[in-house]
Symmetry: C2
């Protein structure tokens, strides 16, 4: 179902004109070396790498704007690049062009503890930001597995383990600075917590994957580090028992900070990769935030629900170090799964369904996986109804990739039939464009195309992603 694009080269004359214009002022911050290009055409998935023609390392919004204007003048494609940790071919240069690497734009512009917000350049990573915030009593909760850049996270509408309590990048971003296809610099909003002032430009660019503009700065909501944080791991007798515990917890409106599911295969991968010795059973990783009394109240409620489902063994992380180890093990789940099968590449489903359908969806998916010959693991942000099946595939084994694709197609179809989405947090890139049409229908896609055409008439902003023109 998923169409794999073939690389289409940029016109050599246009490319040469752009390189000639950029070289004098970018100097060695413009690279056409094979190694640099290869590195910037490859994400963390099984998708074929498609390197750009050159990589420009930008150091300011004005510089990004100048690069975009130069490319626009010659209709040369632009691909923004943060850390390259996306999973759907987002950064593949399907039509060649200039990759703008934003990793050197890694300044934390301003932190305003009194407003619980901050402004950072797009290349700041989530761990860098939290390290910086450590002494302020504040933290930034959005945490995809990778240490992604904030700009990339905004561009893909990322989320992670805390989204069930703190929301996704959709809620976390207060404002963006964006360079549009004509090289103009737009600030999408001011810093007020809410506004009814016209179209929601912030949300228009969040999740647009570089196809409408290049995000260069992000203003983010921050949150107070809770007085009390309690983390635990609890195994369950069956997958259904674990998922039912999640559903009942969410329906009881317990404000979980984190509630993550890992199947037995995933737990085996975690133990091997992170040196833990958790039970090889369907497992929930949980975290409770609040005042001391309120966090303990939540724990009591959830322990009662878990016990009714046969989950009795809560292993608590008693120290900060233990808690960090627990969540690092969870964050490394993707890499851990790949390590189960050396040489494999990852291929991850990412569906998200209404919570009432979660058990049906996960159970049918697990049965489908069990009947397949592909090695899989299931892990997910189940409090949101979002879960991943990781397929560990040999990139040189076309049959295996075809089987994984067919399995993934069925997972998406199942989720769509349950009023879910084909992607909870990874985005569309080029890997899920066919699913986007299945999900939004021709009418929804027509609106997306109209928006793309309006803001990028020459189709130079990360072309071939989200919608074809």
């Amino acid at each position: 179902m998923t169409a794999v694009p073939h690389a289409v080269p940029t016109s050599p004359d246009a490319l040469e004109a752009v390189l000639e214009a950029l070289r004098p002022w970018l100097g060695d911050r413009l690279s056409t070396s094979a190694a640099v290009r290869e590195q910037h055409g490859r994400d963390e998935s099984y998708h074929d790498p498609m390197p750009p023609d050159a990589v420009a390392f930008a150091t300011s919004t004005d510089e990004v704007a100048a690069i975009v204007r130069t490319c626009a003048a010659h209709r040369v494609p632009i691909i923004p690049f943060g850390t390259g940790t996306s999973l759907e071919g987002h950064i593949a240069a399907v039509r060649g062009g200039i990759c703008i690497d934003l990793s050197r734009m890694n300044a934390i512009v301003e932190v305003r503890p009194e407003d619980m917000d901050c402004t950072v350049q797009a290349g700041v990573t989530r761990k860098q930001l939290n390290e910086y915030l450590r002494d302020t009593g504040l933290f930034f909760p959005i945490d995809p597995g990778a240490d992604a850049s904030i700009g990339g996270m905004a561009a893909t509408r990322a989320s992670g383990t805390n989204a069930v309590r703190y929301g996704t990048m959709r809620e976390a971003v207060l404002a963006l600075t964006v360079v549009t296809a004509d090289g103009r610099v737009v600030r999408t909003a001011r810093r007020a917590r809410k506004s009814a002032a016209g179209y929601d430009l912030t949300r228009l660019f969040v999740g647009s994957e570089g196809t409408l503009g290049v995000i260069t700065e992000v203003t983010l909501r921050l949150h107070g580090i809770p007085e009390c944080i309690l983390s635990a791991v609890c195994p369950f007798p069956t997958l259904t028992a674990a998922v039912d515990t999640v559903i009942q917890t969410i329906q009881s409106a317990v404000p979980m900070a984190r509630i993550e599911f890992l199947d037995a295969n995933q737990m085996r991968a975690v133990n091997a990769y992170s040196g833990t010795n958790y039970a090889l059973a369907p497992t929930l990783f949980l975290e409770f935030h609040g005042t001391e009394a309120f966090a303990r109240e939540q724990v009591e409620m959830v322990q009662a629900i878990a016990a009714e489902n046969g989950g009795h063994e809560f292993a608590w992380a008693d120290t900060l170090e233990e808690r960090n180890r627990l969540w690092q093990a969870r964050h490394n789940a993707y890499y851990a799964s790949l390590a189960l099968k050396p040489g494999s590449k990852g291929f991850s489903s990412d569906v998200c369904v209404p919570i009432s359908r979660l058990a049906d969806c996960v159970e049918a998916t697990a049965a489908d996986c069990a009947a397949s010959s592909v090695l899989t693991a299931i892990v997910g942000h189940v409090g949101d109804g979002n879960f991943h099946v990781l397929f560990m595939v040999d990139p040189d084994n076309a049959d295996e990739i075809a089987e994984a694709r067919a399995l993934n197609d069925r997972i998406v179809e199942r989720a769509l039939s349950m009023e879910g989405t084909c992607t909870g947090e990874h985005g569309i890139g080029y890997g899920k464009m066919a699913f986007l049409e299945a999900e939004h229908g021709p009418e929804g896609l027509a609106i997306m195309r109209a928006v793309k055409q309006a803001l990028d008439p020459d189709d130079i902003m990360n072309p071939g992603k989200i919608v074809h023109r």
Copy 2:
């Protein structure tokens, strides 16, 4: 600063063609009577009424689509109408055309307690929905003062007293059914709690004020009615003391359900209108949600903060009836203020600033109001940094309106200089178009215009609102 449009008539031939096409199947659901037209051209503000040429009472999405297609064929403007309670001329027929009244589309399509969401037709009002939900243990928190329609609230990105805890329509809407300018029906999203599937069509239409399409159905997040709800009113010795209490409460991350400010003038209006006998002092209306223990913990924290600012007299609403009376008094603040000056019309500022600037902004504004001859009252959702100055103006007194306008201009300029917005929740309509440009700059406005042009090339969807073409 605010430009007042003059009504531009629709081509009589085009109009006649539309009416001829609609009459046979709409019958008496198509009205050209003066009384019906007048009622549909008037909102609840001081803005001059501008009646449409006709009003069509739609009963289904398909019917709205057919009306839009008919109007589109003749390039006749369309103005969607919910309850007519907006405040910035949103429903004024500045170029004539057909008003589509959605109030008969008032079916609650489905409530799904297990997913804590529901789908309603656009004409359902917020009170109707909460009445319907009463036995489910769920509620819908967004509460502008008026009993507005859910479709209208989505179209203006409305919020209200609960937004500090539960968010605005931006967060509450999971998906919309929208009829676009070409008469196609689009569903913007499925029911998953999060999605990274392409451009955020839901947020594109939320707040678009009918200028990009007609919202006909809304899928909403609901929330569990908390185990414990505690409401109180507390007067303060000065405006600054009350506002500082709010700032310190928000900065302490107490998850307030409601924290509303009313100045002494507003309290006088409330007492007169709602028969209460609150102190005539700057006052906070507060509400705490949680488990019994957690709500009481929050109360203790806030009482300590208030006491340090001289707020000692918490008057608690001990019964459900007392609580309802308290919040009804708050919701009626706008009408209460107008009643202070019989025959007056309301003109409301609606700025929202980062919380750290709230005290500066409110104090400077209060001083400005005190120096003016216009009767004013200040009331606001201060936990979000959002507050209103209500100007009670004689609609026939041009000098008074001019003075209120000048005062309002200064309030907006002050808020913008503090990184705030010209409208927290009322929207742009035609009343705040000049401010929109001041807030978003030419670059932001250019993007909004491009989006409008792309989705409504003939400028028939509520023309003359948000952006001029």
